[in-house]
Amino acid sequence: MLGRGLKSFSIASTLLVVAALGLTFFYAPLDADQGFIQKIFYLHVPLAIVALGGFVTGGIHGIKFLRSGDRRQDLRSYVAIHMSLIFGVGALLTGSIWARAAWGHWWLWDEPTLVSFLVVFLLYACYQPLRFSIEDPERQARYAAVFAVTAGAFVPLNFLAVRMAESLVHPRTLSSTDNLPGPMALTFLVAVIAMIVLFTTLVKYELAAKSTRMQLGRLKRRLSGEAPSAPLTTRRSAAPQNL
C-alpha cells in the first residue's frame, strides 16, 4: 500500500542528485569572495529548507491524525519528523563547516538562521524521548501529534524572534535568490528540487519498511495463533508499532 512508486522515485532522486552535484561542481561559477567553499551552499541550504519543511509536514500530518484518528497519519508524521531530524543534523554540520571556512568560526551566535535552526532542532530532538516515555500506543500517537502541531507552529515564530534579535550576517537565501547570478540560481533551484525528491523518496522507503514490518508481524501472529493485539516486538521503539 505504501510502497507504490518507490522505483520511479528512486530513479528520479538519483538522476536529480547527480544533476545537482554536476551543476554544483562543473556549471556554477566560483564565488568571487569565498571561492570553492561557497559550493557547500548548494548542499547546506537545501538540507535546511527540506528539514524545516519536513518538520512542518509532520505537524500537518499531526493535525490530520487528531482530526481523523487514522493511525497511518501518525506513522507519516513520525517518519517525516524522524527523517527531518537526520537532514537537520546534516544542515547543522554543513552550516558549521561553512561558517568556519567563510567567517573563521565553527559557530557564530550572531547568525540568526543557524541559531534558530539549532533551537528548532533541539525542540524536535525531544520528539523521540517523548514518544519513548509513553507506553500506551494510542496515547503515544495522540500526544506525539499534539507535540508535532505545537512544534510546527513554533518553527516560524522562533525564526521571527531570533532574526529580530540578531544582526544580519547570514545571507537571506529565501528572499534573495533573485540576487544570485543566473547559473548560481539555476544550480540552487535544481539542488533544492533534488533534495526535496530525495527526502520524499527516503520517507517513502521508511513508510514502506515500517508498514511491511507491521504486516509481517500480523501474519506471524496469525500463524502462531496469538491474539492480534499482542505486542509486535520485544524491542522497544519510539516508532508507531501498529496501524
Binding site: L66, C126, T150, A153
Partner: protein
C-alpha cells in the same frame, strides 16, 4: 464554563495554600539561583543586558519547576478522572490551569524582583517598575500557556521530570529573547530607557499564537 473554571482555580489555589508546595519551592529556587549567579559571575551588582539575562533565565527555570508540579496532583489523586466525568467543557481545565500558573508566576515575581533588586541589581528599580511589570505580565501569559500545555503533555509520561524542561526550554526561547531584550534598557545603568515596542509586540504575538494553539489541542491531552 466560567463556573467550572472558577471552581478549578479555587480548588488549585486552596490546595496550594494548604500544601505550600509549588510557590515556596520556586521562590527559594530563585533566591538560591541569584546567590549562585553572584558567585558564578563574581559580581556584586549587575546592570543592563547582563542583569536582564540573569533575571529572565532564573525566572524561566523557576517557571519550569512550577510546570512540573502543575498536573501532578490531578494525576495522583484522580483529579483527571473526576474532571472527565463532570459535565463541563474540557477547555475549562486548560483555562483554569493556565490562570493558576499565571498567578503562581505573579506571586513568584513579586518576591523575585524584590530579591533581585536587593541582591544583584545595580541601578535603582524605581522608574523602571511600570515597564518591567508590563514585560513580566506579557511573558507570564506566554509561560503560563506553554507551561500548561507542556505540563499536561508530560504528566502522563514515564519520564515526566525530564520531559518538561526538555520541551519547555526550547519552546520558551523566543519568549526569553523578547523578554530579555525588552528588560535590558529598563535595568541599564543611569536610569531606565523604555522597552522597545517591537519586543512587546513579539511577546504579545507569542501569547496570542500559543494561546490559541494550546486552546485548540488541549482537549486531545485529556481524552481517554
Amino acid at each position: 464554563m466560567r463556573a467550572a473554571v472558577g471552581a478549578l482555580v479555587r480548588k488549585d489555589l486552596r490546595a496550594e495554600l494548604r500544601n505550600l508546595e509549588a510557590v515556596p519551592a520556586m521562590t527559594l529556587f530563585v533566591v538560591s539561583t541569584f546567590v549562585l549567579f553572584h558567585f558564578g559571575l563574581d559580581r556584586d551588582t549587575l546592570s543592563g543586558s547582563l542583569a536582564s539575562g540573569v533575571l529572565w533565565v532564573t525566572l524561566l527555570l523557576a517557571a519550569v519547576l512550577g510546570m512540573n508540579r502543575l498536573f501532578v496532583t490531578e494525576r495522583e489523586q484522580g483529579g483527571f478522572d473526576a474532571f472527565l466525568v463532570a459535565p463541563v467543557d474540557r477547555t475549562a481545565m486548560f483555562v483554569a490551569k493556565a490562570l493558576v500558573l499565571f498567578a503562581f508566576l505573579v506571586v513568584l515575581e513579586v518576591v523575585a524582583v524584590a530579591a533581585f533588586s536587593v541582591l544583584l541589581l545595580g541601578p535603582g528599580l524605581g522608574q523602571a517598575l511600570p515597564g518591567l511589570v508590563l514585560v513580566l505580565l506579557l511573558a507570564d501569559a506566554g509561560l503560563a500557556v506553554i507551561g500548561t500545555l507542556v505540563g499536561a503533555l508530560a504528566v502522563q509520561t514515564r519520564a515526566r521530570d525530564l520531559i518538561v524542561p526538555l520541551l519547555a526550554l526550547p519552546l520558551c526561547v523566543p519568549l526569553l529573547i523578547a523578554a530579555a531584550e525588552a528588560t535590558a534598557p529598563l535595568l541599564a545603568e543611569g536610569g531606565g530607557g523604555a522597552p522597545e515596542g517591537r519586543w512587546l509586540l513579539v511577546l504579545a504575538l507569542y501569547d496570542v499564537v500559543f494561546g490559541l494553539l494550546a486552546y485548540a489541542v488541549f482537549d486531545f491531552l485529556l481524552e481517554d
